[in-house]
Amino acid sequence: MLLQQLSDARGISGCEREVREIIEAAIDGLVDEQRVDTLGNLICLRRARRPVEGRPLKVMVAAHMDEIGLIVTGVNKDGTVRFDKVGGIDDRILLSKQVLIGQAAVPGVIGYRPIHLIARKEREAAPDLSRAAIDIGATSQSAAERLVSLGDPITFRTTYEALEPGALRCVKGKALDDRAGCAVLVELLQHDYAIDLYAVFTAQEEVGLRGARVAAYGIEPDLAFVLEGTICDDLPKGDEDTSHVTEVGKGPAITFMDRSFIADRRLVDLLVETAREEGIPYQFKKAAAGGTDAGAIHLSREGVPAVTVAVPCRNIHAPVSILSLNDLENTHRLMAAALQRIQGSLS
């Protein structure tokens, strides 16, 4: 299964090759043109295959290949490995985790001071990461340096698996943000449209929407859709009146605003109308949190109408995320139907 392959692949921002190669294999025969630009974006064109008057619209659909993770910043005298975070990570999720370092996937663990040696008061505070490092078993700096190098990418050691089968059909894995979007985008290349579909698998979204910016410049799209794995905070919150942002199982989440952009209303309407008419469940992302490639794309050149559609992911930006295959499939259905509705210009 493609999502499984993509989730298990390792690719923090700036090191997306492994993910890109899986996608290149998956889209073989589905695209008319493809290229990889200098930042590592994979830009694919599937030309209009249905009749259209005049020039078909250039529609960019983007999903980012990179995932959050860590990077090697140093090796200590005792052979342990120092690291920094790549992308937005809550320090508190790093303790007691297994990781894989570099091309050779050297295994390591992030341990912490034993609870027995921690005062009760201190246990109420977030852990102090200056007291943690990655242990790869090396017992000296030189031994460690034979196994890892400065700048080596570090990913969580997590395996994609289906959870107990239930109504939501949940799966767990790492990097569902945004391998979910990548998987949907590959599927979208299987259909025929009256638009020139530019499927762009972007790089470096997690460190500032870097890949999408240059890809959009190169393509000059007429409009853009961004496919995401998005924030889902649907844990029980007692009486607290805070937003779940999105909820697992409620369908694709349509964003009208986040920290990086305000969606083009016409595109939001197109998605909502399509969902209603096709009987596809959908939800709105109910908080203006996070940013997506749409933030970079909509500011490209003279501006591009853009919207984001996302699969809700629990435990996003953590070692193990959870999504519902129902949501994934409904995102595909919604996007395929919406793209098929686009003819000529955007009114």
């Binding site: 342990t80 007691s96 242990d135 790869i136 959870l163 996070g290």
Partner: protein, 351 residues
């Protein structure tokens, strides 16, 4: 036996305190070719007897070796929507479980994930504070309707962690505390099968250590040994822990001394280590050692007891890390010490 495979099998099995059955089966299978008889008591302790061959005219005497099978973990305390609430079984640092995969031992084994909130919605203050217990949940991906059919209050939850080999003979996983100790007993029994010893050996895989040394209390009563050695794990040197608080990794077993330890057993272990050139270190425990040795010492009329600690990093997390060489050394040291008992005197009172 392949020690890595043995320890992987032991650590990846589930055996929370009070529910050590699966681990016990594995231990019994591993020890079966090495011992003469097994007994299991009401608390689930596995007591294996390997008979000695005492010299003509010497009374039969027995030494108890103890390492605990149980591990810390979690237990389901309720539902909220499709999510599970939980409490700790043993000393889990709840700060280390966010984003952790677990196995919920419900009607079936379910994969679960301990939820973490999206960093995008967290305030600065929240990020600096440990997540309070009432905001921790296990997510099985099931709905509020589905969960009660598969999970009930009281179901156990274990850490779901593959044990992996690190560089230089280090191994990392959950429950090394104290399956590493159990593995030292396996090594010891293997060594003894090639040696001649006068004393009977009771190798005991104990239960419920993490909840208060309970298995050791009753198994020491039952075996009524003339001497005992407990094996547990000790704080190994690691980032964030000072030298004063820890012992050296790959430095061999830490031989304990202090009120919990009978000086003659301490001496026996130190002398044996020296004689056989087994790397060791000394650890002073001023009082309660927090190990089975504490319970065994006061069984019946008292037992001369020693304690060996296998150095271990990140105790009570799911990435507990040990050095295989320390496990081999600990097992070998015990075996040689048992042989040396024939010419030792452990009957003197404490100092």
């Amino acid at each position: 036996m392949d020690l890595v495979a043995h320890l992987k099998e032991l650590t990846m099995a589930t055996g929370l305190s009070g529910y050590e059955g699966d681990v016990r089966s594995l231990v019994q299978k591993a020890w079966d070719p090495l011992v003469d008889a097994f007994e299991t008591d009401a608390l689930g302790n596995l007591m294996a007897l390997k008979r000695g061959e005492p010299a003509e005219g010497t009374p039969r005497r027995a030494i108890m070796l103890a390492a605990h099978m149980d591990e810390i973990g979690l237990m389901v305390t309720g539902y909220e929507g499709g999510f599970l609430r939980f409490t700790r079984v043993g000393g889990v640092d709840l700060r280390t479980v966010l984003g952790q995969e677990v196995t919920v031992h419900g009607r079936r084994e379910l994969i679960g994930v301990i939820s973490s909130r999206p960093p995008h919605v967290l305030g600065e203050q929240e990020r600096r504070t440990a997540v309070p217990t009432d905001k921790l949940f296990i997510d099985t991906g099931l709905t509020a309707e589905e969960v009660p059919h598969l999970v009930q209050v009281g179901d156990l939850v274990s850490m779901r962690r593959e044990t992996i080999a690190l560089a230089e003979g280090y191994l990392s996983g959950k429950a090394m505390d104290d399956r590493a100790g159990v593995a030292t007993l396996t090594v010891c029994l293997q060594e003894l099968s090639r040696l001649r010893h006068g004393w009977d050996v009771y190798a005991v895989a104990t239960t419920q250590e993490e909840l208060g040394l309970r298995g050791a209390i009753v198994s020491a009563y039952h075996t009524a040994p003339d001497a005992a050695i407990a094996v547990d794990v000790g704080f190994g040197a690691q980032v964030g822990v000072s030298d004063d608080e820890s012992v050296e990794m790959d430095g061999g077993p830490a031989i304990a001394m202090g009120p919990n330890i009978h000086p003659s057993i301490y001496e026996l272990l130190v002398q044996t280590a020296k004689e056989h050139e087994i790397k060791y270190q000394v650890e002073v425990a001023a009082g309660q050692t927090g190990t089975d040795a504490w319970a065994i010492q006061v069984a019946r009329e008292g037992v001369p007891t020693g304690l060996l600690s296998v150095p271990l990093r990140y105790m009570h997390t799911s990435v507990e890390t040990v050095c295989l060489r320390d496990i081999q050394r600990t097992g070998r040291l015990m075996a040689r010490a048992i042989v040396a008992l024939d010419s030792a005197d452990v009957s003197a009172p404490m100092l």
